[in-house]
């Protein structure tokens, strides 16, 4: 009986992690799509496995790197991994999709996902360790004062809302905006449900009431996701899950995955409560502004019930989160859990800020299509004159070849040698590039391309900062 095992926490080496990520993403469900949009198949998600072997997920991204391609790749992976806990069915029956259903929910897909999840979470959410820091001796009373102080904050329109209002194409911008909410709103409250399993006293039951509200009291027409589907349909968007997968910004997934991350890792329960309080409390004003914004952009045909419904219900949820969940859980578990509650509250703010800036920048990028195309000429000129020497990739692609959406960690110049490329900068946003033309591709901006001639020969110059090419 001399056996004393040594417990080793689970961790993959860089090489193992790279292999495991590729292994997971090589599933036929996750390969590149030949279309921009998925067609009523909730199991298909483009993860671009061909690029994964070049990415290092072992490092924590910093705040300044959080919109880099690594983050987009990690968030697409995480969305896929978390969502294999949830049930999705196609709207119009199975047919051949039954095989995809089985693949998506198979033990092998789930086991492979679980292996890489902890590293991806550290990679993507680790920067919050540096961004948020809690100190001092917190008491129940100081926590309550801290949380209630949010009610004194003057809500301001977000950068995203302003970007839509000022966009050269507000309807397009608003549709792009609604698309960003799909990962969150279509399975609304699902991350939260992770917290009500088990057995832990009255808070569990009170939390369940919040979920009952989100689920429309069991009446399907009033379930919040149904209301959101109505919003999408009313402005001409499809409602089959992840139809617009390729148009999700990494920060939109970062935000919705944050709750899955907290809900999946139960040791982060208290952070969840802090973040929940923040969203429930601020959502009221956000939804009021969102309803007005959508109505002003699309007119009366926009169905904004999803948002007006939240104005009524969430006033109540913010108070409930504090009085029925947070304070009772502090009473039950002790003041030692307070720093985690405070941390979740502040972390969510950081992520919301990241998302807000990212979305506004994407609208500027989409609206700037003609400008970025026009910039090709002086930047190309600068490269010709040797003002910068940038790495060059030469590419030849056949008609219909679709570069699934992605982003780069620096500015690039796309230069068309021959043929025609349709360059896509976001939902409903593109430029046609012919031989001799091209476009500047801005750092961190989501984009893709499709070849529209028999063949297209083009170059990508990784210039880093395009301004260095200008005289």
């Amino acid at each position: 009986m001399n056996f004393s095992p040594v417990y080793q926490p689970f961790e993959l080496s860089a090489e193992q992690l790279r292999e495991a990520a590729l292994h997971f993403a090589s599933n036929p469900l996750y390969l590149d799509n030949e279309e921009w949009e998925n067609d009523d198949n909730p199991y298909r998600r483009q993860l671009r496995p061909q690029v994964l072997q070049h990415l290092d997920f072992t490092k924590k991204l910093s705040r300044s790197e959080i919109l880099n391609y690594e983050s987009l790749a990690a968030q697409r992976l995480l969305t896929t991994i978390y969502e294999s806990d949830l049930m999705f069915l196609p709207q119009s029956g199975f047919g051949e999709k039954y095989e995809d259903f089985k693949r998506f929910y198979s033990s092998t897909n789930r086991a492979l996902g679980e292996m890489i999840r902890p590293a991806l979470e550290r990679h993507s959410f680790g920067f919050l360790d540096d961004e948020v820091e809690v100190t001092g001796k917190w008491t129940r009373a100081s926590l309550e004062a801290f949380l209630r102080d949010l009610e004194n904050e003057q809500p301001q329109p977000s950068l995203a809302e302003t970007a839509i209002e000022k966009s050269s194409d507000p309807a397009r911008a608003a549709r792009m905006w609604l698309i960003q909410f799909i990962p969150d709103f279509m399975s609304e409250a699902s991350p939260m449900i992770r917290n009500v399993m088990g057995h832990y006293g009255p808070v569990q039951s009170d939390w369940f009431k919040v979920i009952i509200d989100e689920y429309g009291y069991g009446v399907h027409d009033t379930k919040h996701s149904t209301l959101f589907e109505n919003t999408l349909s009313s402005v001409g968007l499809r409602t089959d899950l992840h139809h617009y997968w390729q148009y999700y910004l990494s920060s939109s997934m970062l935000l919705s995955n944050y709750f899955h991350y907290l809900g999946k890792n139960h040791e982060l329960l208290f952070r969840y409560l802090g973040a929940l309080y923040y969203t429930e409390t601020t959502l009221v004003d956000f939804c009021r502004r969102a309803a007005n914004l959508l109505t002003s952009v699309f007119g009366e045909e926009a169905d904004v019930t999803y948002f007006t419904e939240h104005v009524h219900i969430d006033t109540h949820h913010g108070r409930m989160a504090l009085e029925k969940l947070i304070l009772p859980i502090v009473d039950a578990c002790g003041e030692a859990v307070i720093p985690e509650i405070v941390r979740g509250f502040e972390e969510f703010k950081v992520l919301a800020q990241v998302n807000d800036e990212d979305f506004a920048a994407q609208i500027e990028w989409m609206d700037g299509g003609p400008t970025n195309k026009a910039l090709h000429e002086p930047v190309w000129e600068g490269i010709q004159q040797g003002r910068v020497t940038a790495p060059i990739a030469d590419l030849i692609e056949p008609r219909g070849e679709l570069s699934n959406t992605h982003c780069h960690n620096g500015d690039e110049l796309c230069h068309i040698v021959s043929g025609t490329m349709k360059f896509v900068a976001g939902f409903n946003s593109h430029q046609i590039l012919e031989a001799g033309q091209g476009t500047v591709i801005r750092k961190n901006r989501l984009h893709g391309a499709i070849i529209e001639s028999e063949e297209c020969v083009y170059q990508i110059h990784s210039v880093g900062d395009y301004r260095a090419c200008l005289s």
Binding site: S62, R63, D130, E131, V132, E133, V134, T135, G136, K137, W138, T139, A141, S142, L143, A145, F146, D149, I338, V342, R343, E346, K349, V350
Partner: protein, 115 residues
């Protein structure tokens, strides 16, 4: 209870509550809300250095030591998010505070904190 949000560094990095100034200090040993005036004779604790090899701040006036651990564990409850800090002052009233600026020593201004 008074909840105040102020800057971690630069302009507005000091809040004066009920006549007592506070700053947010970031050291290699942890971060905390620091009373800027020393409890001995009111020396400038915001310019204190960390005693080499020990978790103590040394006041520049008469070298009184203050435990960094005590400040972080039992100090004023606060949270830093990026470049702003929010602190909860238990015995303060909403009408008795102001913000200002105080310089911080290199041991307290976060430059020594590796990110």
């Amino acid at each position: 209870m008074l909840v105040l949000t102020f800057a971690v560094s630069g302009a507005g990095n000091c809040v004066e509550v009920g006549g007592a100034p506070f700053v947010y200090a970031r050291t290699t040993l942890g971060s905390f809300v620091l009373p800027a005036r020393c409890s001995h004779r009111g020396g400038p604790l915001h310019l204190a250095r960390v005693e080499p090899g020990r978790a103590r701040l040394i006041c520049p006036w008469h070298e009184q030591a203050t435990s960094v651990k005590r400040l972080a564990r039992t100090g004023i409850p606060a949270v830093r998010r990026g470049e702003v800090v929010t602190a909860v002052f238990a015995d303060a009233t909403p009408d008795n505070w102001s913000t200002g600026h105080l310089p911080l020593s290199p041991d307290l201004d976060g430059t020594s904190v590796s990110v």
